[in-house]
Symmetry: C2
Subunit: 664 residues, 2 copies
């Protein structure tokens, strides 16, 4: 990744001297300077003297400024990685942060080329990298198969020299040898292979290596090289999330994961959730832009992975991609608008195997792209792939529940004979988006775990042990539970001001519960949670619970009949199950029935990459799912309303909490 | 055809005035002028004052100049279509020709932009345009089927509006409707169709028109449009000859031929026969150039046909191409060198269906290209297609012979159970190339038919009734027969000078037989034939006869056992059978057994275009052919040597000529 290397160099060359000298320059407004923003790697030329916030607005990057650019809210915090700039102290920016290179975009004028990081989008630290040990431990725990039997194979052939009595065409001789090793009656050969076939055979005295695919309806020769080149055969497992993209470079000959890389989805600048992206796509040229952004994101990851693994892009022949229905439509530049409009129709669910060159992915020129089959407008290939990576389907007759919770939540109930699924809009409250000001993704500086002690002291654990920057989803779940059971809020989420007066504080956005004081926080700003934000968290948890109870009722089941609950997605990954039940997010059943899956969508994509059987199984799973569109079910709204309490209107649904609730 | 239209305008603006004025200009050598050569449509900028021959040399166009540019041989005759030029009278150029706009390239200096025609390559006049009447009369006379059942179909569908209870994806709803009309379990859909599917369905309220293909291993949707567009469904039948290309635009819905257009193969400038082209391809960049030239030739013909038919290129979805093995390799940019080198191996014989966009053909973006299957290095798809258009295979158990004679000759003997084939090098003697100075293609001005009367007078018929420019193949066969049986040459082809002294004349290239005096000739030059040229003609006829007798002996048959002989290709088309037998080119059997086929390669390509069954039959025919490589058969050389007499060493092989021969 050349850009990132450059970045490292420039960071070191920046110093305080530069910042002070910059102020002395004259005629700065006549010059143009280049601003580059990370992690989006987007650049723009601006007039000297303009603010960084103006550039951010022009590029439509996701950076809030609640106060409208007065320097009071501190929302537009940025970190300057390289370059000279005018920094201005303000109530919302401590000297400590200025010294660390932070600034407020609205208060910072451009006086040189700058490299700027949007701290909200600092490098991800994704924990779930699947290694061989992980797979060993999961071998019996999934619906798919852990096997190295990919739809692409490399086969070495020694073609005999042609003679006058055996002067079949080059292709025919190749096919004949291939058929000795691989039984098939008809073999297709790509045109690009035909163009080099005669020379490759002769330059290598017939000792050739054939890349052979079973992805198309006929077995197909994708490539021919000399055996001596000892060329690699690699594939990609890619999980395209609305927020993040994770890519694994996999050796298709032994199934080993060579690299795991990840980044934000560059589409973030066009909207934070799928509905915002679909709306964005409606203007001319925007659908093209969204596709380009996602392709660019993936190509950057490919470049990073192959540089690190020291292989070539032409060694990559297959990508197995999982993503939600909107992400897949945007990847393929398919009109997404009808996903959003009743009756919620996608263009396609079973995506045919595509050519990587048709999408612009930097792989072998004959590279193939497989997308995990979609189910409906709001249940996508991430769920199909996810189910492949869980034991829900295939290993048991007992009924289990799969929940993939992020900005959208998808739920599947079923067993190997039937599957019923629905999707609900959880919203970004637990996802670290701007709805909750103290919210943040589960990255360095996030409170991931929290407890309010009897004496009112708050204990918490911060990712990477920094001073806290905010709370990620699991921290917010803990906070909500502790606030309720500690008596700081009532069942409606309203503050009980009598409980501990010094914890409540008036803020710009209303009365807030003080989680941590500015002095102890990374950004030197108080961390607090307002009633309005609590209401948002309750709506989010209610969406999940009511979707679950709706599905169960539809099936005539109750939650205790669930054999297992599998939690997938970033939200589920670090969740305190007990607290999730205590706030009424998850049903109150035996805690031993809950299982964390991590990124099951990525694992499913990996399983498909490595096995024809898994690829077929994914289709079977998608076919089997009965998809309920909650948008059109009035009964769901009733369930949702009933769940807008802590833990629920009907506390009999939470028998294990009875003691705690009775005390209240 | 924009270029040709321009040309017409400029021709009319040229007049004698221009020519005279041109000489007066000064400083002409300091200017650059543009020369454009037809029919190759190639241009070059040259310095004023240089000769046209120099430009011809630079462009490597096929124009001879035996005298080395002295203006004496008259070989480099050209016609100036537009522009000013200095014309110089010479012994080799009459005033009559100057007045018609002719000039000698070596004697003509450039003093303005010029448009030049190489007369040797004047517009073709191809006679065999197949019309429906032709097909009716041929219905029972071919191996294939006359049926309109093409592998591409247009199907109108009325998709019901999606509802919340029927909200399958757009593609699934389309497939469901399609399956009601067309029974199949899996249907593929091209990516380009997916990208527009959602909008096309909604813009047309579900009333759509689907173009559907059975060419790939799965039924495939190639296009979707609104029914109201009333879009056409067209295909191309293309015969790519070494010298000429013929293209038919065919309505795939009713099988009607909408246009027939033809042109020279622009590759001609790179060599006249396949070996010359293969040699040319060996230099870097030359293979690419040869492909570009052939694609350009075809694209020019497509443009001409669709302009005339008033359709759009995107309405053309399929091309059925037949050509010899070298032409197909060059079309596909496949290395042709191993066709030429022992053991004569092609890259491919069964060409997969390709995408027109991969070749650069201007058709629908999802257009498909089918090439008639090849048999071996020197028996190509023109023969497979040709056999489809003859009754040889499929209708009879009796054994027949098929001969496609051009620069190369291909022979097939067989019936519906077996086929044996070989190719021989006839050379361009009968093809109007430079080997025979009086030779020319069967175009306007060619003597196509000739008789020497008892009094020594020569009677002949000229195509289009002009003064003769030369003799085409059938004229040369007649001449050779008449010279031999008239006693002007002996069995070795040597002149009998005693016969008619005034007919023999010393020429630049040796003693020649005077066919017509300059005064009566179009080019105002004597038409004559030398002993050396006669020897070339004898070698050519011997090649055909010996290939035939070799095959027959290989099969243990004699010529009288042949039920029929089918003659295809330009050479066979106007041939006087009696004279062809009299010179020993064809075997001496019942004349009623001979049948002219015309351009059977084109007819075969048309049959394949319109019928899946014919496409499969062509593969079956190619598979069935046993290919004998004559290059490696010493017995063939013996047969060839024995045939180097008129009519043959063994005159017992020609019983019907016994009377005539005894007289001699």
């Amino acid at each position: 990744m050349k850009i990132i290397n450059n970045l490292n160099c420039r960071v070191h060359s920046t110093n305080v001297q530069d910042k002070k000298m910059a102020g002395a320059k004259t005629n700065i407004t006549e010059k143009k300077f280049k601003l580059t923003f990370f992690p989006f790697k987007m650049s723009i030329d601006v007039q000297g003297g303009s603010t960084i916030l103006e550039a951010v607005r022009q590029l439509q990057l996701p950076l809030k400024a609640s106060c409208g650019g007065k320097g009071s809210c501190g929302d537009c915090l940025i970190k300057i990685l390289a370059g000279n700039y005018k920094v201005k102290a303000s109530a919302a920016l401590s000297q400590e942060l200025i010294d660390k290179g932070y600034a407020l975009a609205c208060q910072t004028k451009v006086t040189s080329d700058l490299t700027v990081q949007l701290p909200q989008f600092e490098e991800l630290s994704i924990k779930t990298v699947h290694d061989s040990q992980f797979f060993e431990s999961h071998r019996e725990k999934i619906s798919g198969q852990f096997e190295v039997n990919p739809p692409l194979k490399k086969i070495n052939l020694n073609l005999p020299q042609p003679t006058i009595d055996d002067n079949y065409s080059d292709l025919r001789r190749l096919q004949r040898e291939l058929q000795k090793k691989y039984v098939c009656t008809r073999i297709k050969c790509e045109y690009s292979v035909l163009k080099k076939l005669a020379q490759i055979i002769r330059q290598n005295q017939g000792k050739i290596s054939v890349v052979f695919s079973n992805l198309d309806s006929l077995p197909t020769i994708l490539d021919v090289r000399g055996q001596e080149e000892n060329q690699g055969l690699y594939g990609l497992a890619i999980d395209i999330g609305t927020t993040t993209i994770v890519l694994q470079l996999v050796n298709l000959e032994n199934g080993k994961i060579s690299e795991t890389v990840f980044s934000y989805n560059q589409q973030l600048k066009c909207g934070e959730d799928v509905i915002a992206r679909i709306n964005y796509a409606q203007k001319p040229g925007h659908l093209e832009e969204l596709q380009e952004l996602i392709i660019q994101s993936i190509n950057n990851l490919i470049a990073k992975a192959i540089t690190s693994a020291r292989i070539l892009a032409k060694d990559i022949y297959l990508a197995s991609i999982s993503g939600n229905t909107t992400m897949i439509h945007l990847l393929l530049k398919l009109e997404p608008n009808y996903i959003r409009l009743a009756p919620y129709v996608s263009t396609i669910n079973q995506v045919p195997v595509l050519l990587s060159r048709d999408l612009g992915l930097k792989m072998n020129e004959e590279g193939r792209v497989h997308c995990s089959p979609l189910v409906g407008s709001y249940v996508g290939g991430d769920i199909t792939a996810g189910l492949l990576a869980t034991p829900l389907y295939g290993h048991s007759q007992k009924v289990s529940l799969f929940i993939d919770a992020g900005t959208n939540g998808e739920l599947v109930i079923g067993n190997k004979d039937w599957l019923m699924t629905c999707a609900c809009s959880i919203g970004p409250a637990f996802e670290g988006s701007g709805i909750i000001r103290c919210g943040m993704p589960a990255t360095a500086g996030a409170i991931e775990n929290l407890k309010i002690k009897a004496d009112g002291q708050i204990e918490y654990r911060v990712i990477n042990g920094l001073k806290p920057k905010g709370l990620c989803g699991s921290g917010l779940v803990d906070l909500l539970a502790e606030l309720f059971y500690g008596g700081y809020i009532d069942r409606h989420g309203k503050f009980n001001l009598k409980k501990d007066k010094k914890r409540f504080k008036e803020t710009e956005t209303g009365l807030g519960f003080l989680i941590e004081k500015a002095d102890n926080c990374y950004w030197a700003k108080d961390l607090f949670l307002t009633e309005n934000e609590i209401s948002n968290l309750i709506r989010s948890k209610a969406a999940v619970y009511s979707a679950c109870s709706f599905l169960l009722k539809k099936l005539g089941l109750n939650s205790t009949q669930l054999e297992n609950i599998y939690l997938a997605g970033g939200f589920g990954q670090y969740l305190n199950i007990e607290n999730a039940i205590r706030i009424g997010l998850l049903p109150d059943i035996d805690r031993n029935k809950f299982h964390y899956l991590g990124n099951s969508s990525l694992l499913g994509a990996y399983l498909i990459l490595l096995s024809n059987n898994n690829m077929q199984l994914a289709e079977e799973i998608a076919d089997k799912m009965t998809y309920i569109e909650l948008n059109t079910e009035p009964q769901y709204m009733d369930e949702f309303m009933a769940a807008l309490f802590l833990p629920h209107t009907d506390i009999d649904l939470f028998p294990s909490l009875k003691g705690e609730l009775d005390v209240k």
